[in-house]
């Protein structure tokens, strides 16, 4: 199962400038693992102790994955996974 991941500008230093990437995975967690496997420096920036850092938001087709099943959310049928900083707004 392939899904398109949108990478925010703040992480593109860790992805050789790539703004998007196609990765394989059955769940959101699998897809992020595949992304981190491709771009090594990414993992420590967004993952801490096996879960998402607290200021990282991940959206599946615009929906915050915390309203779904978090990292266990299946990506089947989804179009895009978007990683964004959580510290905006207000």
């Amino acid at each position: 199962m392939s899904v398109l991941v949108r990478i925010p500008t703040q992480l593109r230093a860790a992805t050789d400038g790539a703004a998007t990437a196609d990765v394989d995975g059955a769940t959101v967690g699998d897809a992020l693992d595949a992304l981190c496997a491709r771009f090594g420096p990414l993992r420590e920036r967004i993952i801490e102790d096996g879960s998402l850092r607290r200021f990282v938001n991940v959206y599946l087709d615009g929906e915050d994955v915390r309203f779904l099943d978090g990292l266990d959310t299946p990506v089947a049928g989804a179009g895009e996974l978007t990683i964004l900083p959580a510290v905006a707004g207000g």
């Binding site: 925010p8 978007t82 510290v87 707004g89 207000g90």
Partner: protein, 410 residues
């Protein structure tokens, strides 16, 4: 106290003072770090403040700008009103209400936009933008118009009509997004990476947020260079709440005022209470919620500064409470009846929370309490509808006395 760098609140990594808001190492929020003071003691600082203008730029020594900008909409120096009749109703002693409706677009957002715009101009931006629950929309549109900048304002499409009309009139490009504020915020976070615009509460957020410190400075000045014992303030993203505390802490640190940091009580609406829920559950992070409340200006389901608001409430011995929509309406009414101040629903959240704390006996009678009323009731006027009767009569004495019961008693 010149600004020195941006610094990550989590891992302390420093960054240059440009348009950025996220730590590239750990994704934590950036805030402005200031250089150590150049030997100016409290007396000198106090004199400089007192010689300054009757706007928030009197505090420019403590703001992240190179100098106070010329022109612009005069903001700040709003009234701190002694609220004896409200105190009496609630069984409190010394109670003050900071009335932010006196700002140019009638909410505290004029403060943060003043500072965000000043920094945006210093950085050479020509377009201002924001994601807003309404008050910020008004402020960005107005301040951009005053400065002659282009602006793009993004709001949830279902906002109160007063806030939409009071934004579009300034000639901004207004975009109503189908969805919640959190959807608007996500869109603007994505856009800020793609457009060369100053999103005041995204890529300019570290500077913008500093504007809320001036609420603390004015409070101290108006109390005769004294601190409150307790603060009650609304929590949406948690930025206002935590920056008021930072303002007090900075002035305590540089000797402008003496005493402990006040107890901080945060106020949320039950229909959007991710921070109050985390506080009650003993968690140090917030789970996002889908907002459903009449307090739309506080309807942020995914609060950026939630963890810091929780930490502040806990370390000062305060708390974060939530109140129902009916309690919010009653809070607006109570403030209006006892002080003559008509606040919007967010102010109703604050006053209802104050009333709840008082009813629980959490506030001693000898405490000096300041409640921050952050916006104007005319912006959420619908909640007043149906709450009273207008006596419609012919223009005659008989009709008046026959129809209006109060006419006989008076």
């Amino acid at each position: 106290m010149p600004p020195e760098s941006l610094r990550c609140k989590e891992c302390r990594e420093p960054y240059p003072l440009d348009a950025r808001y996220v730590c590239e190492r750990c994704f934590g929020p950036l805030e402005v770090a200031y250089a150590p003071r150049d030997g100016a003691g409290p007396d000198t600082l106090r004199r400089r403040i007192q010689a300054g203008p009757q706007t928030l730029w009197r505090y420019s020594d403590f703001l992240p700008v190179t100098g106070a900008p010329r022109g612009g909409l005069p903001t700040g120096c709003t009234p701190l009103v002694r609220a004896d009749r409200l105190a009496e109703r609630l069984g409190l002693g010394e109670l003050w209400v900071k009335n932010e409706a006196h700002n140019p677009t009638h909410s505290f957002k004029d403060r943060v936009v003043s500072v965000g715009l000043a920094r945006a101009a210093e950085l050479g931006f020509e377009t201002l933008a924001c994601a807003s629950t309404g008050n910020l929309a008004n402020a960005v549109a107005a301040h951009a118009a005053a400065a002659g900048l282009r602006s793009f304002v993004f709001i949830p499409a279902d906002l109160e009509e007063q806030k939409i009309l009071g934004t579009g009139i300034f000639g901004t490009t207004l975009v109503g997004v189908r969805g919640s504020y959190d959807d608007v915020n996500r869109l603007c976070t994505e856009l800020s990476g793609e457009r060369p615009w100053a999103f005041v509460n995204v890529n300019l957020r570290p500077y913008y947020a500093e504007g809320s410190k001036t609420l603390a400075y004015e409070t101290v000045e108006d109390l005769g260079w004294r601190l409150p014992d307790r603060v009650v303030a609304p929590v949406a993203s948690g930025s206002l709440f935590t920056k008021i505390a930072r303002g007090f802490e900075e002035w305590i640190a540089c000797g402008l005022v003496e005493g402990p940091v006040p107890v901080f009580n945060g106020a949320q609406a039950e229909g959007c209470a991710p921070v109050a829920q985390a506080f009650a559950a003993g968690r140090d992070v917030c789970r996002p919620v889908r907002p459903d409340t009449i307090a739309k200006s506080l309807a942020i389901g995914n609060p950026a500064d939630g963890p810091y608001a929780l930490d502040l409430a806990r370390r000062t011995g305060g708390g974060i409470d939530a109140v129902s929509d009916d309690e919010i309406r009653a809070g607006v009414r109570l403030l209006a009846e006892t002080t003559g101040i008509f606040t919007e629903t967010a102010g109703g959240v604050t006053i209802a929370t104050l009333a709840k704390l008082a009813a629980r006996g959490e506030i001693d009678r000898d405490e000096r309490v300041v409640a921050y009323v952050t916006g104007d009731g005319l912006k959420t006027i619908d909640i007043a509808r149906g709450t009273f009767e207008t006596h419609v009569i012919d223009a005659s004495l008989d009709a008046f006395e026959a129809t209006v019961p109060e006419a006989v008693a008076a």
